[in-house]
Symmetry: D2
Subunit: 175 residues, 4 copies
């Protein structure tokens, strides 16, 4: 399954994308130099991330990683981390991955996401990795995965396919 | 758009379903009398629900309602409740709606869900309502909505379409 | 599960919505009188609909119905209508439901959809009904269902939750 | 974003999975030698594939590729291949990718899928590639992409995240 060569979209001014091919991902070009600082400041305002003990461990063009420790007070009835909490770190990782490629004055909002739960969410910590699949002027498509780390081994827990939207010129709505 | 008359599935021993028509919903037949007690006890073991201040306000055959107050420490960067928290109460409402129709010894797990975010999650409290769309021996399809309550008005915040699975005979996995 | 009273969105200039409550649906206000004609003309340009024998049987503000007969040459390996064909009529029903509420010069494109398959797609004909859940200036959320008709009985076959986008001022892209 | 080492699931007897890492994909072990023949015979019974001109161009453990030429009689109103047809080849590619890893007597059915449309579906031909993300005794999670080929260049058109189910011992339901 070879990587495809990518060409720019002629429909809606979207930038080239890398899709599934990791080595294509370096194509992503942020639109201003301080995107990481903006993303980290916005993440710091997500109070829920502090509440659940999550922190942002990596920011790159089109990619964001968020980690959280396992905590008993965030579990569902079988003692695994609740799907909503897994979704929280996955949605933030995907949304901020999208934000890294948006203009400086844009805000990002989640339009929708779909999550498949692959294995019970238990382990020492949960690592969410979000990446841009298809950047766009208005709509950005992202994918992400959560892995449970136990004894230095990662196990896939959940996978997300999400649609993000870039908002501009909305009063009081900035990132 | 009239209600459809429903017939039993001949493919996989599924029970009749009610689809979108509220007045058909009374067709759902729980498989044992104490389903509400089982659902409430299982919900009580979801520690995350206590952590976020959520409580189960209604249990009926194929339907569950969960409420939570607005809280600043559960918000995203713009001050709205984070999509992951909205998803948490919606997933629990849908999963427990499914569980009301499963056999007494079954456990419910979420296979996957898709959530569309419709409006910013702000208001006095959030009300998640999950309902069974299609019950099945193995797979149950559910739908749910979250409404934000402000001054006695409800506003739709999010909508979910989800797939739940019934597990039986798994060691240590009960609801 | 009472209908909620709806208020306008203050985030993104979205119009009021009806959500799940049928009797609220009359709230939808098309933006110009000839929306039905525009929708039917656009549908007539979907050559695939002719190829699969589908026709548009109803157009109303925020709602569209499309029917197709069962055909052996559109089936999957077990003799049911293939999920992609079911998706085709469901996607068109949802997309055109969205278009009924968009401005006269707008074009509609599907951003994404999720489909749950509920029962094998067999019967005399398939009826897809799409409706707007949440209209918006840019993004419109729709839901839809496909029913199989046999001996005057309808049976739910599939359900969709979809995101549509309104495009304006794109060269050559009109509906 | 390094590949994770994978361990077997302890929840539901699932086999190891490869997730996103291509070089892990060789881990997939079909359960009987003639899986390719079974998949190709089942595909040959999907009459819709013949109707739309699609053919299966590759079958491997956990991976299937299906191609179809561009055809004007399968288009939507703007002249692109209709999303339902794109979904048809993507769903078949994902479903048969799942079937390659199921037992010899199993049948595969699609539970649900979500598709994001990334670019207009035009070009000389469409190539759908489905792969298993997470095989399971009952539920298999798959991902897939459709690329449009023009002048030897591939452009991503759509991406799918899907849930497949393995059926056994259902009368008359075999693949």
């Amino acid at each position: 399954m070879a990587c495809s060569r990518i060409e720019s979209s002629d429909l809606d001014n979207l930038r080239p994308l890398s899709a599934k091919c990791k080595n294509e991902m370096t194509n992503f070009q942020p639109q201003y130099p301080d995107f990481e600082e903006k993303v980290r400041q916005s993440f710091a305002r997500q109070t829920v991330m502090n509440t659940i003990g999550a922190r942002m461990t990596r920011v790159a063009a089109g990619e964001v990683e968020i980690e959280m420790p396992f905590r008993d007070d965030l579990s569902q009835q079988h003692g695994f981390i609740h799907a909503g909490i897994i979704t929280a770190i996955l949605d933030s990782a995907c949304g901020y991955a999208a934000l890294t490629l948006m203009p400086e004055d844009a805000a990002v909002l989640t339009v929708e996401f779909k999550v498949n739960l692959l294995s019970p969410a238990r382990g020492e910590k949960m690592i969410a990795r979000g990446r841009v699949t298809r950047p766009g002027r208005t709509v950005t498509v992202c994918a992400g995965d959560v892995f449970a780390l136990t004894d230095d081994r990662e196990k896939p827990i959940a996978t997300m396919l999400a649609t993000m939207i870039s908002l501009r010129d909305r009063e009081g709505m900035t990132d």
